[in-house]
Amino acid sequence: MANDALIEFKGVTVAYWQNNMGVFSIKDLITHRKNPFTTKTILHDISFEVKRGECMGVLGRNGSGKSTLLRAIAGVVKPQVGSIHINGSIAPILAIGAGLETELTGYENIELLLSLYGKPRKDVDAIKSIKDFSGLSDDVLRTPTKTYSSGMLARLTFSISVANDSDILIIDEVLAVGDQGFQHKCMDKIYQVKKEGKTILFVSHFPEDVKKLCDTAILLDGGVITHRGGAPEICDLYQKLF
């Protein structure tokens, strides 16, 4: 079972409903009197496979659809066309502005996410290990996460995501906001997760990181995969884009 496809995309097309007429309320809708939504296709006919234990980098320009691709893998967006097969459990996406409820405190967020994993809410060990890894103080964890700095948010999300033992870890550019110490700690942790044979999907705008960490990579451009191959080649191609 070591080499089966863990993630399999077949001709996946993902579209968002784009509301570009500024109609965000019933009031606007009544004055506007037209359907404000247009369907905007983000990913066109994407097919690829990721094997168990593979660590795949995702590179591409801003707006090329990297985050959308990761969301599709996590099942957070559903494909309009095509099929996605995932043979494992997925940790919450690590991305800025995702995973945490800003109105809740750090502790409440931890409990909420633990309970969504079917673990006991008050799993003291789990909470403690998350707290220790994040390096956030008790005081901080008792305030709503909307008051956190972006680095603190990244710490907390990262700690929660790696605390559960799911098969797939999805990282979308969150490490960039952590300070040096935390970045090292995260990288160490990611290597450790990789050694455990888990699958990692890694979005970054730093080709060096991708080269170091990933075995393979894909290059996205305008919602299509233009290249798929070993991480070093793709990183070189990525650098040639600019």
């Binding site: 309320s25 009031k27 969301r71 996590a74 957070v76 967006v77 991305a95 409820e101 969504l116």
Partner: protein
Amino acid sequence: MLYLLIIIVVFKSQSNIDNYVLYATSGLIFWIFFANVTNQSIASIINSSGIIKALNVPTVFFPLSEMISELFNFILTLFVFAIAMHWFGIQYSFNLLTIIPITILFAVFTFGITLIFCSLNVFFRDVGILWTTIQPAIFYLTPIPYPEKVLTDRYPLVVQLNPIYYFIKLEREVIYKGVFPSGELWLQCTVLATGMLCIGYFIFSRLKNQFISSL
């Protein structure tokens, strides 16, 4: 809550309904349940945007959990109510047990409406505000603190087209009159509840895959 008490006191002196307190409060507790569930869950999807963006959880879970916690509150209220109404002329009999299926029907109906509201609210953020504004109007158009006759005599359509009225009527047959409701009324309420749930679920499932694009 306070203003509801005032209503009861004001209407009590004017109406010539027997057991007025029982009549009004039995309707009120059901209305309050309805109002609480809709108000609590209307923003449930928006308020969970962080999680919905990060994790593949069934989104229906969010309004459903609000619903269930309100249902627990409501069951407690029913017990307290049943005891307190001892002094206001409630008739204890086995007929009272039909309050269980009635509550289930009403909860199903309420949940159907909730699904519509909370999913629309993702795309049009003033649905919640609009609902808070029109809610009092619906309350006063439902014969809860005053006798049905006030409306049925002059504007029968207003009550006939108000789905909540049927549930209030059903519940009053049991609590207020102490009789077993007629088959026709049961049928009307069952159709309303399942119909509303189907409509709500239909709208919700058409919209749920695109919540993410507006969160």
